[in-house]
């Protein structure tokens, strides 16, 4: 088994990539995917810690995060569809009715 830090670093890298994705992409679905990527990075951290610490709390947490991700995916995608129905687009640039 690799040591804890390797996993943590990988997860950090993935988290950062996810962050960058959210900040740079304009397609709402891609943004959401990037968020999923961030959540997965967190999951990896949890599992790694869990394994290292020898308790399963972290893995349980991951389990719940996955549920949450699923729930969010359902609601989020419904929102996207609803948005798309109104705007014929899923580009967040088009979500600019309200500003200033």
């Amino acid at each position: 088994m690799e040591n804890l830090n390797s996993y943590l670093i990988v997860s950090a890298v993935l988290f950062s990539i996810g962050t960058i994705g959210v900040l740079t992409r304009k397609n709402a679905i891609v943004m959401f995917m990037c968020i999923e990527l961030m959540l997965n990075a967190v999951n990896l951290t949890f599992v790694a810690f869990s394994r290292y610490l020898g308790n399963l709390d972290g893995q349980i947490f991951v389990f719940f995060i996955m549920t949450v991700a699923a729930a969010e995916a359902a609601v989020g995608l419904a929102l996207f569809i609803s948005f798309y129905n109104n705007k014929e687009s899923i580009d967040v640039d088009d979500a600019n009715l309200m500003k200033w």
Partner: protein
């Protein structure tokens, strides 16, 4: 050997993650993301958490990503071809970089807790990961588990209310 394997997986994971955020076509992004998820599942196996790996593949790669891809197809989204926001890219990257930097520093200079838990690798191998997880979940984490049911109900209701053509 294991290290090499780890490195390869890592390489794949990071490259596919980068692809997620760089691919112009959302479908490609989604596929790359699935790739990343598989890599993560591999990590979970390496971390003695086979149950998590299974769930990862089923829930994430299976359910969530299918949903996403389905939506992308449904909405028939054009390729993300609108003009590039280079400043956005730059600033986003800088922030991402600093996020990474920060976290890296945190990890380098941090002290994780002293491992005190009872669940060693051997124990997991002996008893079985799924059973242990199940025991934990239905004893210590019963309430969160119950909450997820409500969460999923809310999500279902919400999705219906938002996306159903006619209510």
């Amino acid at each position: 050997m294991e290290t090499l394997f780890f490195l390869i997986i890592t390489l794949v994971a990071i490259v596919s993650a980068i692809l997620v955020i760089t691919c112009k076509n959302p479908i490609n992004s989604a596929l790359s993301l699935i790739m990343t998820f598989f890599c993560l599942a591999t990590y979970y196996v390496m971390l003695d958490a086979p149950f998590m790996a299974a769930v990862q593949v089923m829930v994430y790669a299976g359910a969530i990503m299918v949903l996403i891809v389905f939506t992308i197809m449904l909405l028939n989204i054009r390729i993300d071809a609108s003009k590039k926001h280079s400043h956005k890219l730059i600033f986003g990257s800088i922030i991402g970089f600093f996020t990474l930097l920060n976290i890296a520093f945190v990890l380098m200079r941090s002290r994780a807790a002293v491992p005190t838990g009872p669940y060693s690798g051997d124990m997991i191998k002996n008893i079985g990961h799924t059973e242990l997880i199940g025991k934990e979940m239905f004893t210590n984490f019963l309430l969160p588990f119950e909450i997820t049911s409500i969460l999923l109900l809310v999500a279902i209701v919400g999705a219906v209310i938002l996306a159903k053509k006619k209510i």
